[in-house]
Symmetry: C4
């Protein structure tokens, strides 16, 4: 019975990636394009750029942790000063589509436009050519994966099927992207994003920390990869900034926790693959 | 990287606006006009006038806090005695549409009728010409903002994009309304409003206070504006009156908390703008 | 500013009605008639008769509390032995439609059939002519109220607009039913009923008791009417029977709590009306 | 007033069946066949086979508890190594359809195909002819029950109408399957499964253990059957494995708890039926 495994650098017991999906207004525009006229709904998303990103950058600086920001091209285009601030602080910028459109395998042209315009604006605003990609709404399909490979993306973080990184295998048996899989429990939207059309209940510090700390303790025991998927428009709210700060503090009590960016985890996987998995990856 | 800031009057550290959306039956009529015949669903809303408002006025008197009631014209028309009681206690009355209809940018005539009939009934019942406006369901659009300005509204409280008041900038670059932005976590409906058609889960004191107290602590640290968006038909229920009372008590432990009405916060912003932001506002 | 008031018998401080909506399979048949063939969904409801009612009768006997069971005619027709057991224990039987159909004001013939067949089966099975009525799903309308009056119903428990009983006023100004208003927080379905089509979250003892105890403490302070709306298919589950038992135990710590049936509360209101409200009711 | 009863083997006070619905990708394919192209949504389900099953087998071995895995034929077909591992550990394999399609009483041909292909793949992969069946999504109907009987299934675990096993009676009065009824509160999906299309809230250890422990305490008191309905893609997540481990530990504090497979409980019922219920079953 095969199960994927991983050995972390520096003798670390587990890896933590605190990632941010800086969707801003695109989270709402992709749900319904008519929201372009609904200024108040857009203002939900704009909180991410007006307050969320500055507060997050401040906390990450204090905590001395580098993270990865997955940014739709539209967000870069409309909030270039936030992009510059993120890059200046030394965080990684990764690809998150252009308008946060959900990938549709029947519309390859549309997917291609999303990917190419995403690259275009990350480059135009901060001169970045991203190595990593996370799919809007976490959806993915084979044509999209092929497209990402053809454009130079080397790692993905959209799947939910493991607790360690692994190399995707394409349907034709060829080698695909390196996957940094997510745990759906670690997405702040599940606890802090509610709107008129999606009236999800809201949960506070005790509830969220209760879940994240337990997931962390076990993932640590298992030697896995722990990816927080946070959104500046959600985690940037006063209480949720405190939750993130307290959660980081909690993980400081564990020895051998490797805080890393997506790119660093990708590189660690490459090294592991080279020494342990060469044959499997070559199949 | 520009971020909005604010200095509060009297050396206060943060401002608290305990606002009430006195929707009464309109909350249900705006969701589905056929509810006019569904007396039991309407009775949900009527609780706000029969019990909610009297209980709230009693508590606010005991706490010696003045608040702002955002009232649809229909509510004023059908519950004039409640309007008189609110005004007699010295609270501010602000605009909240006529029938709580969600603003539709493609129906400017309909929006205009909502606004004008709202003004009409606030004036007819208690002689008030409101200065502030909150959009039903928090939705807003450019034609609506222009309409509000043309009718003499000077501040709005419908957006979610900051934690301090700010001056809206219209698409043509001209100066717009003063915005008192909300935090969606501070709306009592998220915890206490459930119905057959929207079966949201219900949460009690520990859950709600847990969230509101944490949001307050951080907003206080940040020097922000803390707006509770309460509904007499929700917060007027026995348990939720106790939650509000306990929350106010909690905030009394902090020094430099300025409890204010929407109008007072608007005026404080004007003063701040005059001294600190004149140039920015003029751009 | 008029608010309804009430004086309870025996100098009691508040009244508690522990009511049961014994819907059984009708809860699911009324949502979708095709469920008649979906035996597993029906089994949800049947739990109410197979286990719920026997367990509830046992607890109420131990607690020496008489309650009111609102029973659809279909339930009586299909579970006559449960009806006999309820009546034998001295509980009140009240009207709850025939097939738990939601009253539709455009279908007076349909509503009439529901009411008349409801009366028929309560009489056929246990010889009861009910005095009280609760609407399925809590919906109500003017034609229904007229119909209920014409059939001899004297009290209703479907509205949510007060915390004390009151006399309904019909649109033509005439005197209507006595209303025993509900508080939506006190319905067990809000915490314990989830299904594939309505995937509500489930809550346990601490959550439910937290809410019910706080609502009780405040309702007691206010001298109000506290109506639990319980369903044998929900509260009859092991954990929820313990919640009900613990809640009753909690209320025993308060002096002056009057546990009563719907009929007894109706009679108490009549006495209060006769002495305090005669003029108002006659208007 | 008849109520079902049960006497457990070995003088046990109650029975516990820790069952797993090993749906894997079929949970998502049955909701929407187009998900076959949505690799990321499928990856949700694949977690059940990649990580969930190995982790669960490890825990059950440590706890020395045998359980029943309800497996759709499609899952067996695509994850034969996981099937072999389950069987090797001595757990029971039961029937759970082929593609997890919801039984439709108007499509007997479709239901028949689901059942027959399910049998086919359980046999092809691990040589098992299952005795028990659980319906996908817990739905059931008369044609399906007849079909199951004709194919040799002897027990079912899809209904929610009792807390002890019982013999189903078919509409024509003949004797049906033995039913091991579920309690909907004991399904891990209610607390740990959320997706973009079904944004259920997520709950952690304290919440879930709070409910399961209370349900267990009362079910134990009542001498009932306690069936956990777990999914490797949900309970296989780090935190939820700890919840299951802690829950099992909690039940170890009670004497007379019989941990059994579905088949063992079925056999215990047969013995009980033979001695106590022969006449009733023969009716």
């Amino acid at each position: 019975m095969h199960v994927n495994t991983m050995t972390w650098p520096h003798g670390a017991k587990c890896a933590v990636l605190i990632s941010f999906d800086f969707d801003a207004e695109t989270l709402w525009l992709s749900r319904d394009p008519r929201n372009i006229r609904n200024l108040s709904i857009l203002s939900f998303g704009r909180y991410g750029s007006s307050v969320g990103v500055p507060k997050i950058l401040e906390l990450m600086r204090q905590e001395e942790i580098k993270s990865t920001f997955f940014v739709p091209g539209w967000t870069a285009e409309h909030h270039p000063d936030r992009m510059e601030a993120i890059v200046k602080e030394g965080h990684e910028i990764a690809h998150h589509g252009y308008l946060h459109k959900w990938p549709n395998p029947d519309d390859v042209a549309g997917m291609t436009e999303e990917i190419d315009r995403g690259f275009e604006w990350l480059h135009k605003t901060v001169g970045v050519t991203p190595l990593g990609y996370r799919s809007p709404a976490g959806e993915s399909n084979e044509p999209l994966l092929k497209l990402l490979i053809s454009r130079g993306i080397v790692y993905d973080s959209s799947f939910k099927d493991d607790i360690v990184p692994y190399r995707q295998v394409m349907p034709d048996g060829s080698s695909g992207l390196v996957e940094l899989p997510e745990n759906p429990t670690l997405d702040d939207c599940a606890y802090g994003l509610s709107s008129t059309t999606t009236p999800r209940p809201l949960f506070g510090k005790e509830h969220v920390l209760g879940i994240w700390q337990e997931e962390f303790k076990q993932t640590y025991e298992w030697g896995g990869l722990f990816i927080l998927v946070l959104h500046p428009q959600v985690t940037g709210r006063p209480m949720r900034m405190a939750i993130l700060r307290d959660f980081i503090k909690f993980t400081r009590n564990f020895s051998g926790v490797w805080y890393a960016t997506g790119k660093e985890i990708y590189q660690a996987f490459l090294a592991y693959e080279r020494t342990h998995l060469r044959k499997a990856a070559a199949e």
